[in-house]
């Protein structure tokens, strides 16, 4: 027995080690939801392989009354259900932590550790004595361990039962058998183990009106609310569930009440080229269209992205980033496609990127993408990642401003043409770099034009004249300038005391950063924060950097991609931007950020020589 078992209420990390395809995911999710129902925030994460059955998979739940939703690092309790990963799983438990395992078969003492509390429950034995059907054994074993766990952690069995009741509403048999399995495990633990253990869950009131949702589902809902009518996509992890969620949302929300017909069209393309081609075709013809993909898909779409930029066709790409390069780590998270998206395609190109921090912002920005695409007549990227996209995250509820109509951008109508308005497809009439467009089929004799990826003059006539080409390229730059004030602004939060140091971060780093700030402050490090929410960068990014001696740029990629873009776009001396990089494929943690920045800060505080001498 350990000398100092960890003792903590509503603040610990529990990890379930499972075999994928074993049906553990729903039991584990039930565990996370039960804690939420008890009023304590949780932050769960799936750690899964690119595989359907048989490989190791983990589900980690951070129980955090303080509401820290980033990954913490470390494991306080391991539910070790996978013999394949046993040794590594045991080694990963924090000293003083807990191990919950299936004790049906005796294990040699060498397989355990001295400094952890071992909780053996004969799960297989209990399961096999109750169930005969192999599939039932498999599924109910998961519920049985959940029951035992509820006893260990002093959880409210009623909260779990209520959730099971909601899940199997109307399926009485399944409901009662699940509840039965839950109590099998719970009762065994209550009568055979010393429970509860040092880790406990106690009712609180810290969840509020927040919702619990996956980023991919939220972004898909944003596309529905944002008026997307055409979706073309090609399956790729971790973005497939976004297209599938869009399909499901549309089935519920987008059928005509009378005719039952669909106010949307979803096509699973034969590849990413076709998907983006369909999106560009639909955008050209005045529909709001998007595709959803990940890094390799963006690489394939690159030629069309250039066409969208140069021919000025509204289009939206949701990029759920995963670790690259090449096939990389398909089921691991990174923020590694910033440069490949921001400057995608040959020639001089630049594209608008939005960086949501969580599902709530994913919803809002997904909807906003379509306004921006039609207003700016160009490609817009929503830069999600696996950590946001494929995990349930607690976030503020979705909100929609009823008074807002879609911004369809500058579209010249038949009436405007009949009024004698001069129509030049690439004519900058307002000085903002954004020309008018017409939809195909608008007017019998006016407003038609030939869209092409080759150079053209202001009236869309083919030309290879240098001045006309440059004129157009300069206008595109003006348009990009205009975009700076249209995209979501960076959000700044200043330290309590005045400081020479700042930190820039974005996207899914957000919760870990919020937590790290507290850790750094506890060590006396004061940092002003700027969360960048879009590219092109608003002018406040340059002024934030100008106002600080050093600015840390925290990212989840190897090459400090955002930092490169900031340096590149603002002519900033790179020495003033200190990269803090986490790119092993796991979500960045507060511990990592606090240590990396803390170490750098400590190095800066060199004791002056004369002090040492005196």
């Amino acid at each position: 027995m350990p000398a100092n078992p960890i003792s903590s209420v509503n603040d610990f990390v529990i990890r379930f080690a499972n075999v994928n395809g074993s049906g553990s995911a729903s039991a584990n999710e039930l565990f996370a939801r039960s804690i939420l129902r008890m009023g304590i925030p949780v932050s769960p994460r799936n750690i899964f392989p690119s595989n359907i059955q048989g490989l190791p998979t983990w589900y980690e739940v951070r129980v955090t009354e303080a509401g820290y939703l980033g990954a913490r690092g470390g494991v306080d309790m391991m539910v070790a259900m996978n013999p394949q990963t046993w040794d590594k799983d045991i080694a990963s438990i924090e000293p003083g932590g807990y191990l919950f395992y299936d004790s049906t078969k005796p294990m040699p003492a060498s397989k355990f550790r001295e400094d952890i509390t071992v909780l053996g429950v004969p799960l297989t034995a209990i399961t096999n004595s109750t169930y005969t059907d192999p599939r039932q054994r498999q599924l109910f074993k998961n519920i049985i361990y959940l029951g035992a766990l509820s006893a260990m952690l002093d959880m409210d069995a009623k909260a779990i039962e209520a959730l099971i009741g909601e899940q199997y509403k109307g399926k009485e048999k399944l409901l009662s058998s699940n509840v039965h399995a839950l109590h099998l495990g719970r009762d065994w633990a209550l009568s055979n183990l010393k429970v509860p253990i040092g880790l406990r869950v106690q009712k609180a009131d810290k969840v509020g009106d927040r919702i619990f949702v996956e980023g991919n589902s939220a972004a898909a809902l944003g596309a529905v609310y944002g008026g997307a009518t055409v979706c073309a996509w090609y399956p790729i992890t971790p973005s497939s569930s976004l297209a599938e969620a869009f399909t499901n949302h549309c089935k519920r929300l987008r059928h005509d009440a009378e005719t039952k017909k669909a106010k949307y069209a979803i096509v699973q393309g034969e590849d990413e080229l076709a998907s983006i081609g369909i999106v560009v075709g639909a955008g050209w013809n005045g529909a709001r269209a998007f595709t959803t993909t990940s890094g390799p898909g963006v690489s394939l779409m690159t030629e069309f992205i250039g066409l969208s930029y140069f021919a000025e066709i509204p289009a939206v790409i949701f990029n759920v980033q995963r670790a690259g390069p090449s096939t990389g780590m398909p089921t691991r998270t990174q923020q590694c496609d910033l440069i490949s998206c921001a400057y995608a395609s040959h020639g001089d190109t630049k594209h608008v990127l939005l960086f949501p921090e969580d599902p709530a912002e994913g919803f809002e920005m997904a909807a906003q993408c379509f306004d921006l695409a039609e207003r700016l007549q160009t490609m817009i990227f929503l830069m999600l990642d696996l950590d946001i996209g494929m995990n349930h995250r607690l976030c503020r509820p979705f909100k929609w401003d009823e008074s807002k109509a879609y911004d369809r951008g500058k579209v010249m109508t038949a009436e405007m043409l009949d009024d004698g308005r001069d129509f030049g497809r690439y004519l900058d009439v307002d000085g903002d770099g954004i020309p008018f467009r017409t939809y195909p089929g608008t007017h019998p004799t006016k407003g038609s034009f030939f869209t092409r990826g080759t150079s053209r003059d202001r009236y869309a006539r083919y030309t290879e004249e240098g001045p006309a080409y440059q004129d157009n390229m300069q206008r595109l730059l003006r348009k990009f300038e205009t975009a700076k004030d249209m995209v979501p602004r960076p959000l700044q939060a200043n330290a309590a005391k005045q400081t020479k140091y700042g930190v820039i971060y974005y996207g899914s780093t957000s919760p870990a950063m919020d937590e790290a700030i507290g850790m750094l402050e506890a060590h006396g490090h004061q940092l002003d924060r700027l969360r960048i929410r879009a590219f092109p960068f608003h002018s406040s990014v340059a002024s934030f950097i100008a106002n600080h001696d050093f600015v840390y740029v925290v990212e989840q990629n190897r090459d400090a991609q955002l930092r490169s873009m900031i340096v590149n776009e603002n002519d900033i001396d790179p020495i003033r931007l200190v990269p803090i990089l986490h790119y092993d494929g796991t979500p960045i943690t507060a511990r990592f950020i606090a240590k990396a920045i803390g170490d750098h800060q400590d190095q800066l505080k060199v004791t002056p020589l004369r002090k040492v001498v005196s």
């Binding site: 927040r210 017909k261 106010k263 949307y264 096509v267 076709a274 929609w400 195909p440 990826g453």
Partner: protein, 351 residues
């Protein structure tokens, strides 16, 4: 003579169609292709077909890929929107455009390099999906704009202008279209306008994926002895299975047909296709037989032309997707946004 602007005035006595339009209303810019190019004849046939059908020019969307053929949409229907996309990707762009607005007529123009080489996949999948379109391949077996390389439709054993013999098997796009489930498949020859014009008319009137492979000799790089896509070769080996007249309800046909020599095909929109049979046994409704017929005659070195297959009851992608009748691009906030009450319910379900 492309630097000479097209004169705008025309003879007052030019024939007009039902909408009061003349041929000139269906023309576009002056062609920049080589004099004598087969593609210009196809452009002429498209203009004639649209004139005959009394289509409002601006209700057509012309979409193409890259290459000589893909430049041609600039040369017809000057009042239509056109989109010269990227190489081999016309089908996907057309599919997207069609999804956005089901009320326009979609004319996809492509070449053999564009559709059989770089864009073979997109060609196949747009046909599979049954996109409502007229897909014309201007097939010359050669890359013209890059000066004479073989394309994937060049026949094995045919000789390039530089004397190189093609050792690769060729792709027969019409045969593939049949296999993929195209509901209208035809082949024609740019040098046979009387055959081509009604085929284009029928394809435009067809609901579903209508594919026409038009052999269109390249006068600059593939019209020599040893080529199987030259004017002379195609004329000598042309095996037409039928001749087509398109009868619209507005213009009842006056021709008298000999009993048994004609197959009448009713299309869903009320037009009738009158097929004068040249091969008595050929049935345009038998997909399998058409495939066999093509294979047999291609093996003999013949170029089978005419309407090869039609399914008058075909359904298109919109029917498969059960989309609303209103074009998706005209739906606004009110029709598309579920609103905040629905959102409150969703929020509640996520707690």
């Amino acid at each position: 003579m492309t630097y000479i602007a097209k004169p705008k005035f025309h003879h007052p006595g030019l024939p007009k169609n039902e909408l009061g339009f003349t041929h000139r209303d269906y023309e576009g810019k002056v062609s920049t292709l080589c004099a004598g190019c087969g593609h210009d004849s196809i452009t002429g046939a498209i203009i004639e077909a649209c004139f005959q059908l009394s289509i409002e020019p601006h209700r057509v969307a012309k979409i193409s890929g890259i290459g000589c053929s893909s430049k041609t949409p600039d040369y017809f229907l000057g009042n239509s929107h056109g989109f010269n996309t990227v190489h081999g990707r016309m089908p996907s762009v057309l599919t997207g455009a069609n999804l956005a607005n089901r009320d326009l007529i979609y004319l996809g123009v492509s070449g053999d390099g564009d559709s059989a080489s770089i864009g073979f996949g997109q060609f196949a999948h747009s046909i599979r999906r049954g996109v409502n379109m007229t897909y014309i391949v201007e097939n010359n077996g050669v890359y013209g704009l890059t000066k004479g390389q073989f394309s994937a439709t060049a026949d094995r054993g045919s000789k390039s202008k530089r004397g190189v013999v093609n050792s690769d098997s060729s792709i027969d796009l019409a045969a593939i279209a049949l296999q993929l489930g195209a509901s209208f498949v035809a082949r024609s020859f740019s040098g046979d306008k009387t055959q081509l014009v009604p085929l284009i008319e029928a394809a435009i009137r067809h609901r579903g994926a209508a594919f026409i492979d038009v052999i269109s000799p390249c006068v600059a790089f593939n019209n020599h002895t040893g080529s199987t896509k030259s004017f002379d070769y195609v004329r000598e080996h042309n095996e037409a299975v039928n001749r087509l007249d398109v009868i619209t309800s507005r213009a009842p046909i006056q021709i008298e047909y000999k009993p048994g020599s004609v197959q009448m095909v009713e299309q869903h929109d009320g037009t009738t296709l009158a097929l004068r049979k040249l091969d008595a046994d050929y049935d345009v409704h038998d997909r399998l037989a058409a495939q066999g017929f093509l294979a047999k005659h291609t093996a003999k070195g013949q170029v089978v032309t005419g309407l090869l297959y039609v399914d008058p009851e075909a359904e298109d992608l919109h029917a498969h997707l059960n989309t609303v009748n209103t074009p998706l691009n005209s739906l606004g906030t009110e029709q598309l946004c579920p609103g905040s009450a629905a959102l409150d319910k969703i929020n509640a379900s996520l707690r």
